[in-house]
Symmetry: C2
């Protein structure tokens, strides 16, 4: 069976959040990413070249379509499509609202860039952070650029869109961390291996409402310290440095 | 004077490396970035809306064109163009090949993603790293996406395209750091505040030739340690964690 125009149209429509929501599907491309995800999510459709099919024998999909590289290009959102495009069902799970009581969790307050969100999921995976709570105005996790940037982290990190204020109020007396220009030097501060780290929007940082709920204000020092010039770090970069420092302290 | 078709064509042509090289120019967009760069680089052309011009009085440009938002959109590489587009001259400078003897420097071995390069320049600025040496196959610094991601870091960080092998050989007995899966735990390793940190290509890491020149192999531990699942970190993320750890050790 070859790749029909209707299927190409379906795949391309999933570039838009509206259709991802309607179909409850998301797209992953390329052998590496698809290999990572195929054991974790229900695969509705695989469009793959002969090469990919020959190299893979043990996978489950509801539908498999053999495609030429040319057909794959028509369905792909990437500049250089590679071997395979998969449509996965969006997982439905109840998120553990109390996870921050015994483990370190992340909250994203209005992160807008799909690549930043994907990169944060990938690094959360690296640093063993299982739960990410996103404010409702955070970019959609199933955005194709986000999925590609996660590098499979999506298989192990659980993402929940919710009211961050609500979730913090459900967990009284738990450390709530955030980064601020007037925070305490993170390298000098004793950090717990549980609680919630809030990271803010690319331009505006953490919203006023949430700032009031932060119990520990942290600062990533620049170098040489207190210079005025370099004004900020990208949100994914700041998240990485904060998570690395938490985990470093766990090891000493 | 309004924005001519020829000027729009010139600006748009600078999306391509070939034309950037031919004209020795690069493009920066948006009030924040242009404000950061305008004191540092020679400005050949500003295309700006009335709003921007009213708010700015003290700047130097060889040519200023008042444009409507509509005209600006035609010249812009961004989805949501903002107030001003600037063409700057590419700076010509001799890079200090010996800087690693007294300060911490970065080397990028074939980094391909323009966003990654821009993000690395921005974080180098934060961590006071003044010199970045790029292998010839590293993505062009003057790529518009790179420039936008630097957030002005370009004004303070000097980038030099060169043979990394050569530059290392010119600096014998200087610590050369790189990250490897079989490296030493970076948190436990005493790090010097001078030398060169090599970061590799997104897919292939550090090339074989350069690997042999690394004197200190570092590893960013995942958490919990030695788990098999999460397989890698984005190169800009890894660079950030490494630089943060170097600078943390400088403060203790």
């Amino acid at each position: 069976m070859s790749l029909s125009k209707a299927k190409i149209k379906l795949i391309r429509s999933l570039d838009q959040k509206k259709y991802r929501k309607e179909h409850q599907l998301f797209v992953a491309e390329g052998p590496k990413l698809v290999d990572e995800l195929i054991g974790y999510f229900n695969c509705k459709l695989l469009v793959a070249t002969q090469d990919w099919i020959q190299e893979h024998s043990n996978y489950h999909t509801e539908e498999l379509i053999l495609a030429t590289q040319d057909e794959l290009s028509k369905a792909s959102a990437l500049k250089t499509p590679q071997q395979v495009i998969a449509l996965f069902e969006q997982p439905q799970y109840e998120i553990d609202n109390k996870a921050m009581q015994h483990s370190l969790c992340l909250a994203l307050d209005g992160v807008q860039d799909p690549g930043n969100l994907g990169t944060i999921i990938r690094l959360a995976d690296w640093f063993g952070i299982e739960h990410i709570y996103c404010s409702q105005d955070t970019v959609d996790i199933y955005n194709t650029k986000t999925i590609q940037a996660t590098m499979g982290g999506l298989a192990r990190v659980k993402i929940h869109y919710t009211s961050l204020t609500e979730i913090i109020k459900q967990n009284p007396n738990i450390p709530i961390y955030g980064t601020f220009l007037d925070g305490e030097n993170i390298y000098d501060k004793q950090l717990e291996q549980k609680g919630l780290i809030i990271m803010g929007n690319e331009g505006k940082g953490i919203s006023d409402e949430l700032q009031e709920l932060v119990s520990h204000k942290l600062y990533i020092p620049n170098y040489p310290m207190n210079k005025e010039s370099a004004e900020s770090l990208n949100v994914a970069i700041a998240t990485a440095i904060v998570c690395s420092e938490f985990r470093r302290q766990a090891s000493i």
